[in-house]
């Protein structure tokens, strides 16, 4: 069935996330990022950072809260029971450190149908308190 595409172009209110030192350490530990700049304040400062640095995939943490409302938006119309994560892209900009405040905006980029599968593509753009872009994400979800 062809999906409804009215939601393409829709944007959602910005969601902010305060990056905490222990959250960075927790995430880095769980995914196996062992570089001391992700864990140790002194090592991070010696490398020129204000505090521990978030590993790249920490983008999941600060942008996740903004992606959720778009995924669950009835106007987008995803059937969750049949949804799988099809693909993901992140492009990183300025580094994120503990103490940063990250704001993320999400847009519905594309809704399409190919080969009996529905593709829902979302774009997230995360900026920090000084306005610099820290990460853009392209989230592709497939509904079987």
């Amino acid at each position: 069935m062809a999906p409804k595409t009215e939601a393409v172009g829709k944007t959602y209110p910005s969601v902010s996330y305060a990056v905490g030192r222990e959250k960075v350490r927790e995430f880095a530990g769980v995914v196996g990022e062992e570089d001391p700049r992700y864990h140790d304040v002194e090592a991070a400062r010696e490398a020129g950072y204000a505090d521990v640095v978030a590993p790249p995939m920490f983008a999941v943490v600060y942008s996740g809260g903004a992606i959720g409302p778009a995924l669950f938006d009835p106007e987008v119309g995803i059937d969750f029971a049949q949804m799988v994560h099809g693909g993901q892209e992140f492009v990183w900009g300025a580094p994120v450190v503990a103490g940063d405040e990250i704001s993320t905006e999400v847009e519905v980029k594309d809704i399409s149908e190919r080969g009996g599968l529905q593709f829902f593509v979302f774009e997230s753009r995360s900026t920090k308190q000084d306005g610099e872009t820290v990460c853009t994400g392209k989230w592709t979800n497939i509904v079987r």
Binding site: K23, V30, V31, A47, P55, V60, V91
Partner: protein, 130 residues
């Protein structure tokens, strides 16, 4: 690592997520989708059991390709396609090879295999190497 050449393979990354990894990743990431933390629920929707978070698997690809550079700001871009389910307590192996090096940025291709299945494919990364 220095002087990367096109065609060069990066060291393979092998990791076996333990039985409780999906709970820790759910807590760390905020993704508590029950297909990752509840065997009964996972089975009720036709899965063999709890599956790994796709973004956890991607984080292992990020580690493997990030090893080509040095530290927090080396990984500039990573794109993957998820093409299968990953499970706890089975080894996940990430392989990666350098396609090009230009202006200090290596273009790297990667994939992840578990139990003989290529569950992450078409991984493409840009890593600053100098």
């Amino acid at each position: 690592m220095s002087a990367l050449e096109p065609g060069q393979d990066l060291p393979e990354l092998k990791v076996t997520p333990d039985k409780y990894l999906t709970y820790r990743y759910a807590g760390a990431s905020g993704d508590f989708n029950p297909i990752h933390i509840d065997d009964e629920f996972a089975k009720s929707v036709g899965l063999p059991g709890r599956i790994l978070h796709g973004l956890y698997m991607m984080s292992q690809v990020a580690r493997a390709v990030g090893a080509a550079g040095d530290g927090p700001e080396s990984l500039r871009r990573l794109e993957v396609q998820f093409r299968g389910m990953g499970f706890p307590e089975q080894e996940l192996a990430v392989s990666a090879s350098v396609k090009a090096v230009e202006d200090g940025v290596a273009t790297i291709e990667a994939e992840a295999v578990q139990d003989g299945k290529r569950i992450i494919r078409k991984g493409q990364a840009e890593v600053r190497v100098e």
